[in-house]
Amino acid sequence: MMKSLLHYVALVLWLALIASTPLFADNYTIRIAISLTMFSAMAVSWNFIGGFTGYPSFSTAAFFGIGCYVGAIAQRNGVPLVLAWVLASVFVAVFAALLGAIILRLKGHYFAIGSIAIVEVTRLITSSWGSLTGGGDGLNVPLLQGNPQEVASFVLYVMLSILVLAFCTSIYVDRSKLGFALKCISQNEDAANMVGVNTTVYKIIAYTLSAVFCGTVGAVYASWIGYIDPTDSFSILLTVKVPVMVLLGGAGTVFGPIVGAGAFILLEEVFWANFLEWNRAILGLIIVFLIFFLPNGLLKLDYNRLFKRLINKKARTPRTMDGTS
């Protein structure tokens, strides 16, 4: 109980720090803050299907991309800003629910491949449907009003709201009947069915939850950036990055996705700034490191043991020095 209270306090402080960046930091830092919040929101979303339910979904980029395009197209056709975002979210939710009814019948590797294929198919369709989406040339999105600083803070607060909403949903799910069902499914789907869990419906709900916030994030992102194209919106890199963030923090936990996304984005920022040419390889190294040394994520590390080991090492070091000198 104490420990979880501590987690909540830390989270509130962290979000407050992000929210206060417009007060003291430059535009570049605010951009990092936006990036942090939007990836945290997507990581929290992915956790519904990948963490709680244990389905290796790689369709995040499809939801994000569709969110971008629906938001952008709605705005270009005169739908007001916020309504366009809502529209994009609803569209993505319906898309995910329908799609989920089909592909959630697959398991394991087949589900993974199927969910990646969704990203490819949506990207290819977007590229070739030129009359609606502008094809490979991309699409201009009406710009937000105000000077860059104002726009950035506005986007930041919108993204933060999405993150808070997603996080609250995830706390609710974690404690509710729904969350219990998802955990049953992730541990033994046949047994879940046998105790009366309607696995099909619960999986579809989890998949839809994993999509809807990504759709909103996509729509807001499109309005912020002002220009979208198929390669950027439906990127395989994004679709793998988000699960990696969750794994980094701790899959299936409430706080893990936010911790993971935070650590990942900050690391990435450091590498972008210093080793631009090797950016991708360094991300690869992080992944390899993560799989071998942090298989359960940062949150589930036994910090007490780690701490003790460090102290022991320090205590031992002087003695050996004495011995040699």
Binding site: R175, S176, K177, F180, A181, K183, C184, Q187, N188, D190, A191, A192, N193, M194, V195, G196, V197, N198, T199
Partner: protein, 252 residues
């Protein structure tokens, strides 16, 4: 006595192979019935058909007066038609209590997670696992895992319970404990269908015996009559065993 479960000409083929063929019988409320048959007779397939794991190829299943031939597995659980598995199926990373709560929450009537956890304590005590409530299910030894399966099924408040090889892998003392538990469950008014290959178990506890052979029901009746039935003797028991049972006057 009221009828709880009725099968009418139930059959199932897997790619042309008849696993279960034209099986009809009915179970009365509160009965303990044994379902026996040699390996590969189609016992587990029959349970899977009744509980909606496999769709029926032909025939009908009625449960509590309702045609449930097309039900899904989760619907069977919610209707009060519970089962245990030959190979126990716990949720490994949940505690024993949470495992039982899953049954209470989804198959039973528990309204919330907390209510389900509360209800589950009683079931754990009933099967004698109260001391293990907070240990992970994966750390239980086999006899206790079987008890956990029972508690999970009971938490679903079943009207009928099918126990698939619930005694397999247990030693004599453990089996006696399990049988006592089964009698206690029957006393709660739950109809029990025991799927077994151990003769002793089935004969001593069942009021009625069904015998399945090559997917067909070849006998249905009083245990004493069934083991003397020539078709059963030929198909399953072997004449030696039947002779010995008769000689020892082993009547149930």
């Amino acid at each position: 006595m009221t009828e709880i479960l009725r099968l009418e000409h139930v059959g199932k083929s897997f790619g042309g192979i008849r696993a279960v063929n034209d099986v009809s019988f009915s179970l009365q409320q509160g009965e303990i019935i044994g379902l026996i048959g040699p390996n590969g007779a189609g016992k587990t397939t029959l349970v899977n058909l009744i509980t909606g794991v496999h769709p029926l190829s032909m025939g009908k299943v009625f449960f509590d007066g309702e045609d449930v031939s097309r039900q899904q597995a989760y619907q069977a659980a919610r209707r009060g038609l519970a089962r245990t598995f030959q190979i126990v199926q716990p949720f490994p990373r949940m505690t024993v209590l949470e495992n039982v709560a899953a049954g209470a929450l989804f198959g039973g009537q528990a309204g919330s997670v907390n209510a389900a956890l509360e209800m589950s304590r009683a079931e754990l005590a009933f099967v004698g696992l109260e001391d293990f409530a907070d240990t992970p299910a994966s750390s239980l030894a086999l006899p206790n895992r079987k008890r956990l399966e029972l508690a999970k099924s009971l938490a679903m408040r079943p009207k009928a319970l099918m126990l698939d090889e619930v005694n397999a892998g247990l030693n004599a003392t453990e089996i006696d404990g399990a049988l006592e538990l089964i009698r206690k469950i029957a006393d709660r008014g739950v109809t029990i269908l025991i799927i077994e290959h151990l003769m002793k178990v089935v004969l001593s506890i069942s009021q009625r015996i069904l015998v399945l052979h090559h997917g067909e029901l070849i006998a249905d009746g009083d245990p004493g009559d069934v083991i003397r039935n020539p078709r059963v003797v030929e198909a399953y028991l072997g004449s030696k065993f039947a002779a010995r049972v008769q000689a020892e006057g082993h009547h149930v």
